[in-house]
Amino acid sequence: MSKLKQRLSKALKHTARSLWMIMPMLVAVIGLIGLFETVITPEMLRSLFNGSTFREIIVGILSGGVSVGQPFLSYAIGGELLHDGVSLYAVTAFILSFVTLGVVQLPLEWALFGTRFTVVRNLLSLLFAFLISVATVYLLECFQ
């Protein structure tokens, strides 16, 4: 019992130290999220979408990547974009990159996982946001 207590105390100390170490970066990321949430508005995003489907998908991925907030926000903004005539391809790309890409989280990811991991993971997310949006909407149109 005392051995377990000792291990638990050691683990708690180790965990607290780990969290304390990343605290400055975590606070910085939270601060950035607040700034992005305030400066980048849904209206601003809407104004970016105009052009070919391909261009709109790219805009969808990039704008999703810089947007921050709860996932339901991406559905609400996506729904509005769709209503405004933006293609479902672009909206799907936006919804996906809203959650899988995070420009504001990059510094923390880089600090904890290193440059190589961060670059590979984010490039894969970017590429797959494009592929998934095309595959999903193409199949949806085939079924309907």
């Binding site: 170490m21 910085a28 607040g34 904890l112 595959a135």
Partner: protein, 171 residues
Amino acid sequence: MSPKETAVKKRKKSGMVMLGIVALLYLITFFLSPETGKQALAASGGVLKMIAPILLIVFFLMALLNTSIDSKYIAKHLGKESGVKGWLIALGGGILSHGPAYVWYPMLSEMREQGARDGLIVAFFYTRSIKLPWLPLMVSYFGLLFTVLLTFFVILSAWLQGLIADRLLSK
């Protein structure tokens, strides 16, 4: 100084630099538009309030991980030889995890240091885009078929990305 100590020092330094940059950005925002600065600060406070309980859960999960699970166990279930079980843990864990991704970074980085595969971490991150509590809302906005197709492709591509990441990141 050991490589681990150097990495820890580097991490702390980069955190302080980043914090300084963000503080400067806030100063500039307050200077240009005090109202926007106040709104941004309030938004950050809201984020902090939202993630605090999840951060607490992650803290206890990390402590539990350090107490009861050793690196051999992690290497066996999430390492190179983890097989299908590893994929299922990563994909399922990503779907079930709650809160923003960055809250999970510290725990996942510790697991990685203890032998968890990069591909599984990449897969975990990607399936996090499936938000179970929000799926009904997605259905109401975009329809059931869209939601089913998107969910299917996210799981499939999380696995594919994991495989590619393993190839690209293996030393």
